[in-house]
């Protein structure tokens, strides 16, 4: 719908108007004699009515119209503001607000406003609240009850004056005017097509003047099971009925002849409506009259639609917009700048020690973390965009390998940063291929092992803390530890001595070693020894890691852990003499202080006691050739214990600065990959600090 682009504008403006209406009404209540306030209210209501009508929200327009009528009398001194009028107007405002709220949530802004409309009308008529308030619903149907003729009262088709006069003329010319109601069988698949056949049939023998629902709606199948129409013809009603019933899947057709008397009554109905002041409102009221099952059904359908619309977010296409991804990147960059300024302000605030400054900086900090959340969310994409190509791939793969297997995908709605989504596809393809090729056995093997012929590969994605996990689990043969070790020893990846003390997890990690392959038979799909090591480095470059667990004969689970986002991280800022570095908090185990005499030299490398073990102590100053710091000059050295997988190391540093949210920037395209550095960030003082890559520091 073309109106969509205006919808958000409409919602904003409506809310503004409603807000000002509420305020002004309160003002007016305080000084009921002030006509100038009424003027303002009237203008607001008028604008609101205009907008609502333009946007096609008829109930909204109808209600504001009635409010306007009341206000018009007040501003022209024909009506004095009284308490009950205020109450009614406030009630109207509440109803309007509810409708706008509904529209905001993707609804159609429909509401049963008949009661309020009736009270407003009563006020206009000068009735006292007693009469109007007590029979609010009574007065509404009244408008419609009188003109309803005996036969036609059933229908809900509203004729306008023009159509009315056509019928009149047709009757005068001696044609028959029929009111036809056709219902289609419940199990009919193509209601619109059947309805079309009815129309086609009728149009061959006469003219359809008006139908309910409209022809367009019927074509779009926007009707329940029945539709009704006014029809001018020269044929016999019974003959027509048989013709209609001869069409397949038509359940029933009711034909009522209309003579000039009933038509005249209908005409009165039209006039009565116009006299009532609003065309729309009574129309809505009339529809609400449960005079006939069909009508009641119709209403029920409408009633059904409303909650459905609110429940389903899908029904609110206007609430989402497509944004160029570049703009999001720009937004992200701008936000990063803001974050840098925030850090700078925080720094200034601590230096200046002004209470007010500190407070406002703190507030800004809170706002900016909210903003950060939202900006991050904007960049999130459901992993389905990656997963959706897998079922087909796995199917083809299984076919070519002569295996049977099911791919079960769960958590496809899990969201990840777009940058990660863009990169994670290939590694996952590798892992899936690996599972299908090496994990799942051939049909014969499976049968022999007493497993079902069809293997299962589970592909799961889920959030956990600040990470997203993607798991690929097969119920295949599992990883044979001894085979892996034998192969690794043969290829010189590990020695036999080393292999004895290795844990299962360490053995499985050998699969990711460069140039490693366990497949006895080299296939097209995998098993050339390239792949898994690429997978591992790719995932590592995304700041994640991959773990393997396996039970021989029962299956293997590859678990990929990825950070939620790549662009902003929490980091510990440290000092190395005059230089500052950032260490990602995610890889820090703990911080501490170590005395010189605790450090032991073993085979030229330094070890420190940590918990029940010894871990290597690395000299950052030497690693980075720091110009003005050397921990050897100190008796006590601050250390940061970092972790990579299950290996740990301590980094000797000068001093801690503190924890910060930092924005990751790359070092520029010119610089080659710098060992031990994963990027840079801009500090509060505008200087650049380098971000350590703990993974590169632990060998």
């Amino acid at each position: 719908m073309d109106m969509n682009q205006y919808l958000s504008m409409f919602i904003d403006e409506s809310n503004d108007h409603l807000q000002s209406l509420n305020e002004k009404m309160l003002e007016l209540e305080a000084s009921p004699e002030d006509i100038s306030i009424v003027q303002v209210i009237f203008r607001s209501a008028h604008t609101l009515k205009g907008m609502a009508a333009t946007m096609g929200f008829e109930d909204l327009a109808a209600l504001t119209h009635q409010m306007e009528n009341v206000l018009d009398l007040v501003r022209n001194d024909k009506l004095k503001m009284q308490n009950f009028i205020f109450d009614t107007l406030f009630k109207s405002l509440d109803a309007l607000e509810a409708m706008v709220q509904d529209i905001t949530q993707g609804g159609e802004g429909k509401a049963d406003v008949s009661t309020i409309v009736a009270s407003l009308q009563a006020i206009v008529r000068g009735e006292t609240p007693g009469a109007a308030a007590e029979t609010p619903s009574g007065s509404a149907p009244n408008a419609e009850a009188q003109p309803s003729g005996p036969a036609i009262s059933k229908e809900q088709v509203q004729l306008d004056e023009f159509q009315h006069s056509i019928l009149e003329q047709s009757l005068a010319a001696g044609h028959r005017v029929l009111f036809i109601e056709v219902s289609i069988r419940e199990d009919c698949q193509l209601k619109a097509a059947r309805a079309y056949m009815v129309f086609d049939l009728l149009e061959r023998s006469g003219e359809v003047v008006k139908s309910y629902p409209t022809v367009q709606e019927i074509e779009q199948e926007k009707f329940d099971r029945s539709f009704s129409l006014y029809f001018i013809t020269e044929k016999n009603p019974d003959e027509l009925r048989t013709m209609i019933l001869n069409l397949s899947e038509i359940e029933d057709a009711k034909l009522v002849s209309i003579d000039s008397d009933t038509l005249a009554q209908l005409g009165e109905a039209i006039k009565a409506q116009e006299e009532a002041g609003a065309v729309e409102a009574p129309a809505a009221v009339a529809e609400a009259v449960p005079a006939e099952p069909a009508a009641a059904e119709e209403k029920a359908v409408q009633g059904d639609k409303q909650p459905a619309a609110t429940k389903k977010v899908v029904a609110a296409p206007s609430r989402t917009i497509r944004v160029d991804i570049e703009r999001l990147d720009v937004l992200m960059n701008l936000f990063s700048e803001l974050l840098i300024d925030r850090v700078r302000l925080e720094q200034l605030a601590t230096e200046i020690k002004s209470q007010e400054l500190t407070e406002s900086v703190e507030h800004m900090g809170r706002v900016s973390s909210d903003l950060q959340n939202i900006v991050m969310k904007l960049r999130m994409v459901a992993i389905d965009t990656v997963f959706n190509r897998f079922p087909r791939m796995v199917r083809d793969l299984a076919k070519s390998l002569g295996k049977k297997l099911d791919l079960v995908i769960t958590g496809a709605e899990t969201e990840l940063d777009r940058t990660v989504i863009d990169e994670i596809g290939d590694p996952l393809v590798h892992l899936l291929r690996n599972s299908v090729d090496h994990g799942i056995e051939s049909i014969a093997e499976r049968v022999a092992a007493g497993k079902p012929e069809t293997g299962t590969v589970n592909l799961r994605a889920f959030h956990s803390g600040n990470h997203v996990f993607i798991e690929i689990q097969d119920d295949g043969k599992g990883i044979d530890r001894s085979k892996v070790l034998a192969s690794a020893i043969k290829k010189g990846v590990v020695t036999e001595d080393e292999s004895r003390s290795m844990t299962d997890e360490q053995v499985y990690q050998l699969l990711f070693a460069p140039g490693f392959s366990t497949a006895e038979k080299i296939s097209d799909i995998s098993g050339r020894g390239v792949g898994l090591d690429v997978v591992k480095s790719k995932i590592a470059s995304l700041g994640g890691h991959v773990a393997v667990t396996s039970t021989l004969g029962e299956g293997t689970l590859f678990s990929v852990q990825l950070p939620l986002t790549l662009s902003i991280i929490s980091a510990m800022m440290i000092r190395l003499g005059s230089e500052k570095y950032a260490i990602p908090l995610s890889s820090i185990v703990e911080t501490g202080i170590i005395r010189k005499n605790q450090v032991r030299n073993v085979h030229g490398s330094k070890l420190i006691p940590y918990r029940d073990a010894h871990i290597p102590l690395m000299s950052l100053s030497r690693f980075f050739d720091a110009p003005d710091f050397n921990e050897d000059d100190e008796d006590e050295t601050e250390i940061v214990v970092i972790r990579k997988g299950d290996r740990m190391a301590a980094l000797a540093i000068d001093s801690f600065i503190g924890q910060n949210e930092i924005v990751i920037k790359n070092l520029g395209k010119y610089l080659p990959q710098v060992q031990g550095i994963s990027g840079a960030t801009i500090l509060g003082d505008g200087q650049v600090a380098l971000i350590l890559d703990p993974n590169a520091l632990i060998k």
Binding site: G668, P672, V688, A689, L690
Partner: protein
């Protein structure tokens, strides 16, 4: 009529060099540079240029000239070649001249200690001014940088 180009003129030692103005983003005064360890000595580090981290190289070092102390005149010329942005530390930058492409001659083997392959040519400005036009693509050639890396290792 020959094609006119605008050229940013900067000084390095006793020579004057030129870079096509289209390739120059801004010229900055000296600012704090964050050292990047484990890289070439002529890469002085990275700077924060309005929120963008840009590597800075000392052009003297790049051309194997003697590196000198930075002065008030020292400037960082930010150039953009392709999608690479790099800052050049130069002794001074204080002129823009118009040049006829026709007036650019092919360079001799070595000018002011800089190898010919880094140069686009030599241009005559006025009567007695020689301008050495830099071949930025070659100066920033990362293939060569990688080669240097191997040599240093």
């Amino acid at each position: 009529m020959a094609e006119q180009i605008k050229v940013i003129v900067f000084a390095l030692g006793n020579e004057e060099y030129g870079i096509d103005v289209d390739k120059v983003r801004t010229i900055e005064r000296m600012m704090p540079i964050t050292r990047v360890p484990k890289t070439f000595s002529f890469i002085k580090g990275v700077i924060n240029l309005r929120g963008v981290v840009i590597p800075v190289i000392d052009l003297r070092g790049r051309f194997n000239l003697v590196e000198t102390e930075y002065t008030d005149q020292t400037r960082i010329i930010i150039v953009a070649v392709g999608d690479m942005e790099v800052g050049f530390i130069v002794d001074a930058a204080n002129d823009v001249v118009d040049l006829d492409r026709d007036n650019i001659d092919s360079p001799p083997e070595v000018v002011g200690g800089v190898k010919a392959k880094y140069l686009d040519g030599v241009a005559k400005v006025g009567e007695d001014r020689l301008l050495i036009m830099l071949n930025l693509a070659e100066v920033l050639n990362r293939g060569e940088v990688a080669h240097l890396e191997q040599l240093e290792d």
